[in-house]
């Protein structure tokens, strides 16, 4: 089969771009009310490109928290990407380090999920570039637009669109779950552990996702190798 390149990547990334639309729009709006200029708000989306961390930073800026603490918090929220890019490295075609360093910037929860769930191995760098360009474009453009128009979507649409990124994750996970007990177990154990951390408050969100993902991946590997299955 012909390996898919940039335009196939763009197409695979459209659902991310749709999901980012309301989130980025609201971020631009909130950044404005927090006191960031259009340039500052857009620059944050251009250089950081991490939704959860950017939202939290606004809360911290409003609270007058020191920049060093905001930066440390950003690191903790995003440390889970370490696990994702290590996993993604197994999936991608070998390529020059500078190219990998370049597209590494665009790895988010969403772009990782779309790339990692693709059926073929040795995914092309250009495919990843396509997924990232459309996601990143949506994130940056709609951040600026949210700040510029300074108003949100109609409330019913805003509420309805808040499901988009989760629907994306569900839409990626479910086809792999069909008839595959291993995939179901991996998702279920991680979901249960993450829920446990959430409701007990034992770990903050960034750590909770990291720990529950890693624990589930290790537990299932231990069971699979013990059972002699591949």
């Amino acid at each position: 089969m012909e390996q898919r390149g940039f335009s196939a990547g763009l197409k695979a990334g459209v659902s991310i771009a749709i999901g980012y639309f309301p989130v980025a729009l609201t971020f631009g709006l909130l950044a404005k009310t927090t006191g960031l200029s259009l340039l500052e708000a857009t620059a944050m989306s251009i250089f950081v490109f991490a939704g959860a961390a950017q939202y939290i930073s606004l809360t911290l800026i409003t609270a007058g928290v020191a920049p060093a603490v905001i930066i440390l918090n950003t690191f903790i929220v995003n440390i889970r990407h370490f696990l994702m890019t290590a996993s993604l490295n197994e999936k991608m075609q070998p390529d020059a380090r500078w190219k990998k360093a370049l597209y590494a910037f665009g790895i988010t929860d969403e772009s990782f999920s779309v790339l990692a769930i693709q059926k073929e191995d040795n995914l092309r760098t250009t495919f990843a570039a396509g997924v990232i360009v459309i996601s990143y474009g949506s994130w940056v453009v709609f951040t600026a637009l949210g700040h510029l128009i300074g108003a949100n979507l109609p409330e019913f649409l805003q509420a309805a669109m808040s499901i988009a990124l989760y629907a994306l994750f569900v839409g990626l996970l479910v086809p792999s779950m069909r008839g595959n007990r291993k995939v179901v177990s991996l998702a279920a154990i991680a979901a249960l552990l993450n829920s446990l951390f959430f409701f007990t408050g034992w770990l903050t969100t960034g750590w909770a996702i990291l720990v529950s993902t890693l624990a589930s991946a290790i537990i299932i590997e231990l069971i699979a190798s013990k059972g002699g299955r591949s």
Partner: protein, 101 residues
């Protein structure tokens, strides 16, 4: 905002980039032990479970948005629809729901 906001953005950019870039560049061309490889191949499905639950239920203050949205997303996905249809369909279901509120 003063110049500190630019230093904050720079700092956030650096600490966000590090965990993204180190594995992809450092692990390039290295063969990991097979048990580690297997664990890394398990990560995508585990991470999706953790990203979806429990956050999907708390997308709005009104918990029914999350419950109905989750049911719609899983329902549409189980019918075999592609990702785009799952996303747009779930949004449509919730849009209709919120019109009835």
């Amino acid at each position: 905002m003063g110049s500190w906001i630019w230093w904050t953005i720079l700092g956030m950019a650096i600490v966000t980039y590090i965990p993204r870039a180190i594995p992809l560049t450092f692990l390039e061309g290295r063969e990991l032990p097979s048990s580690i490889q297997n664990i890394l191949r398990n990560i995508p499905f585990a991470v999706l479970g953790a990203l979806i639950f429990p956050a999907i239920f708390f997308i709005q203050d009104n918990i029914w948005f999350g419950v109905i949205g989750a049911a719609a997303a899983f329902g549409i996905a189980l019918l075999g629809a592609n990702v785009m249809i799952v996303v747009l369909g779930s949004i449509a279901v919730l849009a209709v729901y919120s019109l009835f509120l």
